[in-house]
């Protein structure tokens, strides 16, 4: 298990397209010290690897099927009502692919 470093924290933040200040980075490292210590204890619980991970609060999956029904789609102007930059019916964004021609 490699140690979590300032550089790694910045790298994970960058993957999320979030910038961190030095203070924010320090706090992440501090919290990871506690999490890592606890997770080490958990990893040492005998047979932990055989337990099925619990991903949902209720072990109750679909027990009935809902009827299909027709629903109107939302209006385009409603969908765009919170968008700061759009043209006609479309969201405006900068070019993703550069024109090299």
């Amino acid at each position: 298990m490699g140690k979590i470093t300032k550089e790694l924290v910045d790298d994970y933040a960058k993957k999320l397209l979030i910038g961190l200040t030095k203070e924010e980075n320090d706090l992440v490292l501090k919290e990871f010290d506690i999490i890592t210590e606890q997770m080490e204890l958990i990893a040492n619980i005998p047979g932990i690897e055989k337990i099925e991970p619990m991903t949902h609060a209720l072990d109750r999956y679909l027990d009935d099927l809902d009827d299909d029904y027709v629903e109107e789609a939302i209006e385009i102007n409603e969908a765009l009502s919170n968008c700061q930059s759009y043209v006609d019916r479309e969201v405006k964004v900068p070019k993703v692919v550069e024109n090299n021609g």
């Binding site: 979590i4 994970y12 979030i18 619980i45 932990i48 969201v91 964004v93």
Partner: protein, 484 residues
């Protein structure tokens, strides 16, 4: 507005008061409370009185936590990333209350997107505790708890992923009820950690909590995790008959011997809990001590952080500032998103997202995310096993009273009190119904006790809380110590 819902309803029916007068009073108090405690994001000064019907909630004002979508009304999640967001739809829970004639008068402030426990990370600034403005209200449903405690209205909506209804309720001296997961549709609730997010309510009495959730709940085609609860009537189930019902508490969390150098506050809080147990026994409840593995209990906060942050990282990926929210500056979509997120998110949730991203990476998943999910199952299975013998788990809500705002931090701590501070998360791991009621005062500030029961057993849990509330005598507690 200081009265219970049934009393207000009777006054409306007898025409001793009008809905318009109630709204006017509630709005006037909202402005006072905003000045004093900074509890709201929006006050709806143009709220209109609906028709008063036989429905208990008709014509009575209420508050909505600002992470519920409200049609045509600013809904920010207390985040700068959504500071101008106005939804074109109502959350199902809000819609259900409207259909019962309830009238919203404000949107309450919260820790950004519900991801905090202090009420200090709202984009509009920290919410102050109604009992002492130098202290926090607790979070994340901070504004709702403060407003209800100060008598703005009899109830306000909250949401609870870790303890976000039940802890601020204790810090503000009121009732906070998180129903079984899925009893109330989450459609329109801004998601934080979807496997644990639960809609609920803050009130001043257990009876009011039952009435409001009866109106909010129901299966919803827009939330496939919601379930049919037509056969559950919480209000009608309140008869106060609890003789012979069995509760347990966890020895390791309330035994003074487990706390070295315990503060005076913690000692007083644990004594308060012992007095609550005596009251339980006086009304015929059987309370027994159960011992659990301290290693499991100590791991609860880390398990919660790993799981909730992982889910939040995924849920919040749509917050880009491109299709909604304020646009960041930049020449490329990546720069635009990065500027939007870096400037828009508070330091706390940026940290949480990074933790979530880390535990989900392929190389870390097994040791962090999956082991946390495995421990979640071990803890939930253990508690469910105990629910075969007991009707509920009773514990103090936290280690003491609301902490001071000055110097407050919302971060994991390595401390022997951490399991007592964070144990309410067990109810979110298992989807259990869980309710906090006031249990007394320490240093003239309120503290609370929590009762948690098995899934779908909400009526039983509320009935026990109802009987205990009567015995403890802190019903309809309002700031200043007045109570019925």
């Amino acid at each position: 507005m200081d009265s219970e819902i049934i009393k207000l309803h009777e006054m409306l029916i007898k025409k001793e008061i009008t809905s318009q007068e109630l709204i006017k009073e509630s709005l006037a108090k909202s402005h006072e409370v905003q000045e004093k405690c900074n509890a709201f994001v929006t006050i709806l000064d143009d709220a209109l009185a609906p028709e008063v019907t036989d429905d208990y909630l008709s014509g009575i004002p209420f508050g909505i936590k600002d992470n519920y979508a409200t049609k045509g009304i600013l809904s920010t999640g207390s985040s700068n990333t959504l500071k101008n967001y106005v939804p074109f739809f109502d959350a199902t829970a809000v819609c259900n209350l409207k259909n019962h004639g309830a009238v919203a008068v404000n949107k309450t402030a919260l820790d950004e997107f519900g991801m905090g426990g202090t009420g200090t990370t709202c984009h509009t600034g920290a919410v102050k505790n109604p009992w002492d403005q130098k202290r926090m209200a607790g979070g994340s449903s901070a504004g709702s708890a403060t407003a209800v405690a100060l008598g703005v209205y009899p109830y306000a909506l909250g949401s609870d992923t870790g303890d976000s209804i039940r802890k601020p309720a204790a810090f503000c001296g009121i009732v906070g009820y998180k129903p079984t997961y899925g009893m109330i549709s989450r459609y329109g609730l801004f998601p934080f950690a979807s496997s644990m997010d639960t809609c609920g309510v803050l009130t001043r009495t257990v009876k009011d909590a039952a009435i409001v959730v009866d109106a909010m709940k129901g299966k919803d085609a827009k939330d496939l995790t919601s379930w049919d609860s037509k056969n559950i009537n919480l209000y009608k189930s309140l008869d106060g008959q609890v003789k012979g019902k069995k509760l347990f508490y966890i020895k390791e969390l309330v035994d003074m011997a487990n706390y070295q150098n315990a503060s005076d506050e913690l000692i007083k809080h644990l004594k308060n809990f012992q007095e609550v147990i005596k009251k339980c026994q006086e009304i015929g409840l059987i309370v027994e001590e159960v011992s659990l593995d301290l290693t499991l209990l100590k791991a609860i906060p880390s398990v919660y952080v790993c799981l909730s942050c992982a889910e939040a990282t995924s849920n919040m990926s749509n917050l880009t500032g491109i299709i909604f929210g304020p646009r960041g500056e930049g020449k490329t979509p990546e720069e635009i998103i990065m500027n939007h997120r870096t400037k828009g998110f508070s330091p706390l949730i940026k940290r949480r997202f990074v933790i979530g991203s880390y535990v989900l990476q392929k190389e870390n998943q097994e040791r962090y995310f999956l082991n946390a999910a495995r421990l979640r199952r071990i803890i939930v299975d253990k508690i469910k096993e105990l629910f075969k013998t007991y009707d509920g788990l009773i514990l103090p809500v936290s280690t003491g009273v609301a902490p001071y705002l000055d110097g407050s931090k919302d971060e994991l701590v390595k401390d022997d009190t951490a399991p007592l501070e964070e144990h309410l998360q067990i109810a979110n791991f298992g989807g259990f119904p869980s309710i906090t009621i006031p249990s007394g005062h320490i240093f003239s500030l309120p503290v609370g006790v929590n009762i948690t029961g098995n899934c779908y057993d909400d009526a039983n849990v509320l009935n026990i809380a109802y009987a205990l509330e009567k015995s403890l005598g802190f019903k309809n507690l309002k700031q200043g110590g007045k109570h019925e």
